[in-house]
Amino acid sequence: MKKHGRDILLIAAILLIGGAIALILLLSRRQGAFVQVRVDGKAVALYPLGENAEHEIKGVNGGVNRLVIRNGEAWVESASCPDGLCVGMGHIRHIGASVICLPNKVVIAIVGEGADGGVDAVTGQ
């Protein structure tokens, strides 16, 4: 048992820190107000989360992501990228949650009241 003492300590520390990060993110989440769309780091659109809508988002290199906003949730319905990971990222509704398409450099994030609110305020963007 003594032989694995440091192993157990290290793995416990890793799991604890991971749990703490998850807990902080979980406790600090709030229902968002807007869906912010960024392409290549620049905010290109801001849609209210409360209004049902569908939008075509043009990413870099001619890539396209289809954004759907319905019942206070936003998600990517379909995309031109080969892996389609953004479609698999599911529905988002809380401030700071995001759907990201790496090939098209599209970031769809939920923000609070005020156009540049939410997590992005931290980076001063």
């Binding site: 440091r6 290290l10 890793i14 820190i17 780091g41 990201i100 450099k105 997590v119």
Partner: protein, 172 residues
Amino acid sequence: MKNTNGLNAKQLAFYALMIALALILSCLEALIPPFFAVPGMKLGLTNLVVLIMLYMRGAKSALFINAVRIILVSLLFGNGMGFIYSLAGGLLSGIVMILLKKAGGFSIAAVSVAGGVAHNIGQIIAAIFLLNTASIAWYLAVLWFTGAASGAVIGILGGLICKKLRDARLFK
């Protein structure tokens, strides 16, 4: 049988074998469909090679193999963006694993778990800079645990392979 770089034929063969193995493993991994539940989660099979190099040949060799396989895999299967992500993840996990091994007292599996987490942290840091957004930090909570899980699988495998290699006395 020393060449100019001070590598003998046996060592050269071992390096070549490891790089070939890394390429095969990344090819194999590309065949596995992405885990739909957690996008971005990967098994990190190539990390197996880095881990084996670290324990069979030491820190310098592990970093060297890591760099070579990242460059080769990006050239063969990837694109420019993928290269930066792999480099950020690969370097951070490599450094963390080297430091933990130096610190001593940790098993291969535990070192690999820390390496798996570090790999995902590196990739998220790269994404924050490349995409110019902190929104992705939300994702760290998930990738933290998937990194630990895949690191554990790779670490257990790596430990078994290192033992076999030592028993076979082919190298060292």
